[in-house]
Symmetry: C2
Subunit: 323 residues, 2 copies
DNA sequence: CTGAAAGCGCTTACAG
DNA sequence: CTGAAAGCGCTTACAG
């Protein structure tokens, strides 16, 4: 019922294989034939059948995107944003994407394994870098092509990954605040797990020391309070909103009494005032690079696994101020 | 290289067609044979090839999920949440999902058309119900199966759709506030477009009138202010945060001076105090129903197009108070 | 209850 | 530069 390569071939007066070659714009085919065939395709409204192509070529031309095994992915705008970026970049390269979501690692792994063994996907983009992850183990153990968005805590040389320079992100936060005259700065976090925290904090610490400033590390919890700090570096913007509420209750005003600089530049930074001074981690580029690197991995099968570092940008808004 | 149906057939000493029947658990096959074949599948680690199955059966077993043509889908937790729910429900029915995202209607339509004509998907779940939408027109015009999450402003009888009862949502907001003793209530919105607004506002109005209360409609913008109202019904929780900031600046305190009830129950309602009293619209059920209804549409091809109404739930928190 | 065969719509060596 | 043929791994009438 749908129009096939054969219909086109007949109409154009060529063999089906020729039509196939025209479709992939093979340089072997003469321009005359190409024009003729393309005209026939146009007239018949031909579109190629994805399944037939995949079956015959042995390539799924599809990337699986793996979301973290947590319940609420929707509270972090990051995921929808990178998904969109990945999808749009993939389209540019004429590949599709499939997604894997699950609440537990086991669930997720089952899904990932199924996708790959049914040959639905050529490999994966993994959107998280948890400490020990059975999906990563599985992929690594079976030599399945994948790239990671984030920085794995182990086997960095065996995993192609894309991330920001989190250490530099820590340093730059300090630099900005120091420029504004702050000398007593705390790093505020709600989690001390993961590479993101440790690298940012390390960068923060190094810069504080090298500039001879007074630093502290504060874990945000029920009893959160601050001492003589005049500025804070906060792990992300949602946390910042909570921190600010707390500071308010304690009688501090942002930015008049306390400056805050944070990360992610999500929508949470511009809902209520003061709008947040924040680092934009360039999620779109992270997604684009993930696709590009994955395709590179798949097609050129390089023997090394590199890290791609995506630049970030400081967005100056209202939560930091010179003292 | 991968193990195929033939390998299994040989190992089990049967014909390939028998294996195929065992896979789909056909009632024609004897239990003895089934056991034998399944054992062979296990031992060889067989998984069926998705592309071959799709090609031979003519069914993609995949649903395309269409996101709205707006730039920033990530600022609304709704999308990631429903995507997850859809994906998980789809898995239960052994179907896959593919996604279509684009910044413009044209872009999106191109994608949707391509997905369908390449036979990648059997149809679509459309996640928005804009006024005039060329994607919807295209789907309708070509009799492509699809369901809509939301309520279309036209052709409601030709479109299978899933939504909350927005009118009731408007009514219930009033009822809650009235119970708390509020008699002067404003409906606050930042947009007067779309069915969601008009239905909620209609329900709000009807209930206000029937309870003989004093109502007003306030558009939220730079000059936002309120008069003698003691309570507000606000279109969504992000807007509520902005409204609250404004009220604060004007010297009103929530909930002491003004009660607020809102919609969506997203993360935005519980970041800072007062936590928001809000209606949970049950996004997970919306997603599940979308998949179920789509599959029903596809397999049973009913001659009518029904609306499925998903119940909601009032989440009482801190932003409403008796006066 | 099971088998043999045709066919789904492509791609890709192999020939010429 | 183009064609003829085999094959990708399934499903599904058709027979028996």
């Amino acid at each position: 019922m749908a129009v096939t390569i054969k219909d086109v071939a007949k109409k154009a007066g060529v063999n089906a294989s020729t039509v196939s070659r025209v479709i992939k714009d093979s340089s072997e085919i003469s321009d005359r034939t190409k024009t003729k065939v393309r005209k026939a395709m146009m007239e018949l409204g031909y579109t190629r059948n994805a399944a037939a192509r995949i079956l015959a070529s042995g390539k799924a031309n599809t990337i699986g995107v793996v979301f973290p095994p947590v319940l609420d992915k929707s509270s972090q705008p990051f995921f929808m944003k990178i998904l969109t970026a990945i999808n749009e970049t993939a389209r540019k390269f004429n590949v599709s994407i499939a997604i894997a979501t699950g609440h537990t690692q086991t669930d997720l792994k089952k899904q990932v394994r199924m996708m790959y063994s049914e040959r639905r996907v050529d490999g994966f983009i993994v959107l998280y870098a948890g400490k020990t992850d059975i999906i990563r183990e599985y992929l690594l153990g079976n030599s399945i092509p994948f790239v990671l968005v984030g920085t794995p805590s182990e086997q960095q040389n065996e995993i192609t990954h894309i991330d920001n320079d989190n250490k530099l992100l820590g340093r730059e936060a300090v630099r900005h605040l120091a420029t504004l005259g702050h000398r007593n700065i705390a790093f505020v976090t709600d989690t001390t797990d993961g590479e993101v925290f440790s690298e940012r904090y390390q960068g923060f610490s190094e810069e504080m020391v090298s500039q001879n400033l007074t630093k502290s590390l504060v874990k945000f919890d029920r009893s959160f309070s601050i001492g003589r700090e005049t500025a804070l570096v906060v792990m992300d913007d949602v946390l910042t909103l909570k921190v600010m509420e707390r500071l308010n209750a304690l009688g501090f005003r942002v930015p008049d009494d306390i400056s805050i600089i944070t990360y992610n530049n999500s929508i949470f930074g511009t809902i209520t005032h003061p709008f947040l001074t924040t680092f934009d981690i360039n999620v779109v580029r992270l997604g684009q690079a993930a696709v590009e690197k994955f395709l590179d991995l798949l097609n050129n099968n390089p023997s090394y696994h590199e890290k791609t570092v995506i630049p970030f940008e400081l967005i100056l808004r209202e939560s930091t101020k010179a003292r």
